[in-house]
Amino acid sequence: MSHPIPQPSFKARAEAALADRTLKLAIDRTTGTAEAKRAAAVAAFPEFDAARRRGRAIKDHVIAHLDHYLEQFERNATAAGAKVHWARTDAEARAIVTRICLDADAKLVTRAKSMLGEEIGLPHALADAGIERVETDLAEHIIQLAGEAPSHIIWPAMHRTREQVAELFRAGHQPPPAAEDPATMVQSARRALRAKFLGADIGISGANFLVADTGATCTVTNEGNAELTTTPPRIHIVTAGIEKIVPSTAHAFALLRLLVRSATGGELTQYTTFHCGPKRPGDADGPEEMHIVLVDNGRTRMLGDEFREMLRCIRCGACMNHCVVYRQIGGHAYGGTYPGPMGSVLTPVLDGLAGSRDLPNACTLNGRCEEVCPVGIPLPTLLRAWRSRSWREGLEPGTLRAGLGVWAMLARRPALYRLASRIGVRALRLFGRGGWIARLPLAGGWTRYRDMPRPPGRTFMDQYRRTRAQKGGRR
């Protein structure tokens, strides 16, 4: 596994994140804006629901005919002069990319942000091979300076405040930026990366889409860093998951309308670029070689199980921007490449359920992720599927199994259950002050971060019976 779940445990990471007030501030600043902008973009696009149904149908069609489209893509990309590679696992993908770099005697590699690259552990693989890697996306540049992993799939440096970014740039840029405002810092990064773009031996990008009928790969960026990464070097390498296929450019556009609105609230990213093979004879610029690495890494396994619908994901990040848990703990606490709701479904696929069974549990099932998902992935259902599997595989701890056993015993005996509930609510009332319970023995994990409402003196069933009797009396 390229990303073993780091120690300490999820619970310890979440607690550390909750205690970090700067982190909360940073997350709130970006997710708040993202949520508002997405809502405005959807409100300005009355066709959004119909577009979402179309997007979902396109992804389902591709997933049903993945072999057909991959072969068609390979044929057309090869005809355009690209070399197509296939990787079963993250390790195979790393080996292919590293081999291309070493064969080309590459010293400096520029990279345009790709979550697939993170998933397969490319940054470490290049470092291990002694190749200098320069991240060109501004957020990736920030976290490269900080020596961190991305905490969000659209805004990888979301966990960093502007003050922290300024500190990193003062240490990492020559000359350091003159001020702490975002505009000055963006200019500083522009200056710092310019020579790297033009001096790189190889440029590596991901792909938002692989277009089957042309063999082109498609990147979307707002900064223009992808084209500056893929054009000057002698070699362009693309790493992409096999689910990124679309039948044609028109299908890609149908999905782009959903992707960009859901991700940033824009209508199209500033630069939407199709890359079809290497430089053509006579072309003014462009790479001499183009390599495309098609990566499986668990995706074909998902085809055959209950997580198949997750292959629809177009990586917009809306689910995490709208997740109450993500917005409290941020992306790093999840411990995998992909955070938030979509990450909690994918991480057990990629890293194994045994080490990540806490992730599907760290969810309130409020359903906001499914509501905003542009391709209608039933994320809460998939998270529940992981919970069931974790139970079936005996991964849940003994205390939980015993507790649920007691509850199941009571639930099957209604009279006993009601008696226990009556005792329970009366006992809980003893801990309340006013309308709230601020401290509760054995439930410190709950009351440390929020108060619990003090229950009324009677159980629901008692109140229901009483109300019914009153109504019946009036009739």
Binding site: R88, W155, R160, L228, T231
Partner: protein, 217 residues
């Protein structure tokens, strides 16, 4: 077994129903694009001029727009633009045939792009009104970096090349061989990577100026 065989084999093994013919798959793929008007934004103004619709969209993204009668009026407009922005009277110009015979007056033009090129002039293949996008294809007379290295990117767009929607551009693409790069440019380069606040000129041009002309004669 190669990785390719294994991956394709695993996909086929996961299939619950028999594989369909390429024709049946293509027919279903085409049907997924039926009635495009039901899933795309309308143009504003709805039935008006495409140039108006384009200018509104592009303008909202921070692109500046200038209308010129013809391509011969470009050099004078460029001098004004460079003056207004306090830039030297020097410009990188795309080696396009359309620009070949122009009298540049006092502006020194060049082909080679400096790493920190202040301003460059290019020609769009077409424009898309729905999104306010410019389309650029790479080629012998169209370097990709011309659209990315300069701080000021000035683009000539012929009104008669404007297309209403993204699908219209996809249809145009389907009729010709793909270039190495087909690029849709929708506003100046920007980023929201620091606390979500929007800053222009991240790596690409911080300024995008579109010259709309009625013809290239």
């Amino acid at each position: 077994m190669t990785a390719r065989d294994d991956i394709l084999g695993a996909i086929r093994a996961a299939r619950a129903t028999p594989a369909r013919t390429a024709e049946a798959i293509a027919a279903e793929a085409a049907s997924l694009l039926d009635a495009p008007e039901t899933t795309r934004p309308g143009l504003a103004p709805a039935a008006g001029d495409l140039a108006d619709a384009f200018a509104r969209k592009a303008g909202a993204l921070g692109t500046t727009i200038e209308h010129l009668p013809d391509i011969a009026a470009i050099p004078a407009a460029l001098r004004r633009y460079l003056d207004t922005h306090g830039l030297p009277a020097s410009l990188a110009v795309q080696p396009a045939a359309e620009f070949a015979g122009l009298d540049w007056g006092g502006v020194a033009i060049h082909r080679d792009l400096a790493p920190d090129e202040p301003a460059a002039l290019g020609l769009a293949l077409c424009g898309i009104a729905e999104s306010g996008s410019l389309v650029v294809h790479s080629g012998p007379d169209a370097p990709v970096l011309l659209s990315f290295l300069p701080l000021h990117h000035i683009v000539v767009l012929r009104v008669d090349t404007l297309l209403p929607h993204l699908e219209d551009y996809a249809a145009l693409m389907a009729k010709q061989a793909s270039p190495r790069n087909a690029i849709l440019i929708t506003g100046p380069s920007g980023t929201t990577d620091i606390e979500g606040s929007y800053v222009r000129g991240a790596h690409g041009p911080g300024f995008l100026h579109v010259i709309l002309t009625r013809s290239t004669d």
